[in-house]
């Protein structure tokens, strides 16, 4: 079998598993979701990413059946979900608080959904044992939820929601309660389990790093709207707005007026500075206001003026954030703007070439920055 990249969203013959069609949700006069249309495909790991209050949890609760859309339709496998109550949907959810039943043991928690389906004892036992094995919880099957650690609880919640082999698994901030190190491990575990079971996962998170790590596609949300849906690399490298550029990772945004020049634009962002050039296939009118987004790691810091680059700016180091593997420099231009630059610390700290108040040259290539209309 030839290795094929997983991109069902680029395949017009592929039928989506979930279709949102003009979905709005209002609570009284407050609009939580504003007329959204998008698709999620089978076996995807789809992330809904946004700050708190952007409507991502409402989106998920509509999928689970705890909220009904005010307008529009949600289709699962081509079937309208509106008349189906939560207990009849082939969708399971892993709750942010885990919502483990405190009066039941780990084993009984995982078996809970299977028992409701009226499966026979042997089938239930086999399935629960398989889930315990998948989540490495065999040793704890007889413990109560309060007798195990946070990480173990998270795995019980996952096992319980996977036990019924749902078509779609919803994860509401699944790793929020774990500490940083455990969170990272668990992210890889989640990806592993998603691949093994072939279940479609939809994860809600406010942690952009988490979304980028686990997801096949990320939907960045703001104020009830999806601003951009794309693969993690395209979201990072080709954001469609300053909102997305700013939300994902670190970025410097310069505002100015553009003039078209050889396959790109010159952006005049300050009176006392030369214009900055960026290659772009965007259609921008001459003299229009635009934004240039540049990632810190794409900006080089040098003591001498580099001769081979078109975008060169002189500034003074204002701040240095030392992160161990990386250092981030905040460089102030004479006009007051601050540009962030990041370098990998490939050498020991003692050999660091720059310090505070040093005059340095910043430079980047023609294709490093992205020009944005809004």
């Amino acid at each position: 079998m030839p290795e094929k990249t997983f991109e069902p969203w680029n395949d017009p013959t592929e039928k989506p598993l979930i279709e949102f069609k003009g979905v709005s949700k209002r609570f009284g006069s407050f609009t939580a979701i504003d007329n959204q249309t998008f698709d999620i495909y089978a076996k995807e790991f789809f992330a809904l990413l946004g700050p708190s209050g952007c409507g991502k949890t409402t989106m998920m609760r509509m999928l689970a059946g705890f909220e009904a859309p005010t307008e529009g339709h949600i289709l699962l496998g081509g079937q309208d979900m509106a008349p189906i109550p939560p207990n009849k949907r082939q969708v399971n959810m892993m709750f942010q608080s885990y919502a483990l039943f405190p009066h039941l043991s780990v084993w009984e928690n995982i078996a809970f959904g299977l028992k409701r389906d009226g499966k026979d004892k042997a089938t239930i036992a086999a399935r629960v044992d398989a889930m315990l094995k998948l989540t490495r919880l065999e040793k704890f099957s007889q413990r109560k939820p309060h007798q195990i650690s946070g990480g173990q609880r998270q795995r019980v919640a996952l096992a319980r929601s996977l036990a019924k082999a749902p078509k779609l698994l919803l994860l509401d901030e699944p790793l929020g309660a774990l500490d940083a190190k455990l969170r990272q491990e668990t992210q890889f575990e989640l990806m592993d389990i998603q691949e093994k079971t072939g279940t479609t996962f939809v994860i809600v998170t406010h942690d952009q790093e988490e979304a980028m790590t686990v997801a096949s596609r990320v939907a960045v949300m703001d104020d009830g709207r999806i601003v951009q849906v794309d693969t993690p690399d395209r979201i990072y490298e080709n954001p469609n707005s300053t909102y997305v550029a700013d939300f994902i990772g670190d970025v410097t945004i310069l505002e100015g007026r553009v003039t078209p020049v050889d396959g790109g634009f010159d952006l005049a962002f300050a009176e006392d500075q030369p214009a900055i050039y960026a290659k772009s296939s965007q259609h921008l009118a001459s003299g229009q206001t635009a934004y240039l987004a540049i990632r810190p790691e794409k900006v080089s810091v040098t003591p001498e003026k580099p001769a081979d680059r078109r975008n060169v700016i002189r500034g003074k180091i204002l701040d240095i954030a030392y992160l161990g593997n990386l250092s981030t420099y905040h460089v102030a231009l004479p006009g007051g703007q601050i540009i962030k630059a990041q370098t990998a610390n490939t050498r020991r700290l003692a050999n660091r070439p720059f310090t505070w108040e040093d005059e340095v040259w910043l430079s980047w290539t023609d294709t490093a920055a992205v020009l944005l209309e809004r």
Binding site: A64, F66, P85, P86, N87, K88, V91, N92, M93, F95, Q96, S97, A99, F101, P102, H103, F112, G113, R116, D117, R143, K144, H146, Q147, I148, S149, R160, S161, K164
Partner: protein
């Protein structure tokens, strides 16, 4: 140990004396040989023996227990349902009125509750007896139950119920399999509260009791009017004993569960 100053010792003694001296006196005199309550004539348990042969007291005790068990059970069911509606149903038309009306009996003078119930029972021609006392006690104790249960429901994580629904429970199953087992302790303490309230209620019971049924508090009260007899002292001592044992057992059980929970959590930490 903290060394107690003379001030602390005095206030402690006075406080305890204020609370328990009357009861202590009552217990001591229940073992009095003499029929006169205020004259000590030597130790005897004869009043306890006489109590056991006094049918009027035994009947009253039986009525009291019947009333307390039945009324507190009905009150627990109704009170829990009321609490669920108040906490879960969200905002519905008349919610404020409903919650106000549930809590009103808490502050309503007992005389008024008793009188209005009496008028009602006469109005609909209901013969007063065990049944009417049960009705009356259910009425006023269900609001205590709903206060206790709704306090618990307020801190109940609603996602537990949603998780049950999500895993295929009908709403009724979700309540039976998840919510009820988790709130059970508060439902039980609501029941105990209703039971105790019914057990020692005098005012409402005397309005709603008829010649066919007398509760123990009414019996004690009416006997007192003919003079305090050592029999009543004996009866009260038994009641104090029952209550004291109940309280001690309940606190020991809750302490035991707490210690076990703590041990479990420590075991979990060790992995």
């Amino acid at each position: 140990m903290i060394r107690l100053s003379w001030f602390n010792v005095t206030s402690l003694t006075l406080g305890f004396a204020f609370l328990y001296l009357p009861m202590l006196l009552l217990i001591v005199y229940s073992f009095n040989e003499s029929k006169l309550v205020t004259v000590w004539a030597g130790f005897s348990t004869k009043w306890y023996g006489e109590l056991l042969t006094n049918d009027a007291y035994l009947d009253a005790a039986w009525v009291t227990i019947q009333v307390a068990v039945i009324s507190s059970t009905i009150a627990t069911v109704l009170g829990t349902m009321a609490a669920l509606v108040l906490i879960r149903a969200g905002r519905f038309l008349g919610r404020t009125l409903f919650s106000g009306m549930i809590y009103a009996p808490l502050v309503m003078p007992e005389v008024i509750t008793g009188l209005s119930l009496l008028l009602l029972f006469i109005g609909i021609g209901l013969d007063r007896g065990v049944f009417t006392i049960i009705l009356a006690h259910t009425t006023f104790s269900m609001c205590y139950v709903s206060v206790v249960v709704s306090a618990r429901l307020m801190s109940f994580d609603k996602s537990l119920e949603e998780a049950a629904l999500d895993l295929g429970c009908s709403p009724l199953q979700a309540f039976r399999l998840v919510t009820l087992p988790i709130i059970a302790p508060s439902v039980i303490s609501g029941w105990l509260l209703a039971f105790t309230l019914s057990l020692d209620d005098l005012v409402i019971a005397s309005f709603t009791a008829g010649p066919s049924a007398t509760t123990l508090p009414i019996k004690v009260w009416s006997s007192i009017r003919l003079g305090v007899s050592p029999e009543i002292n004996a009866l009260s001592t038994i009641l104090i004993g029952i209550v004291a044992v109940g309280v001690i057992v309940a606190s020991l059980i809750s302490k035991h569960t707490m210690l076990r929970q703590l041990a479990d959590e420590n075991a979990a930490k060790r992995g």
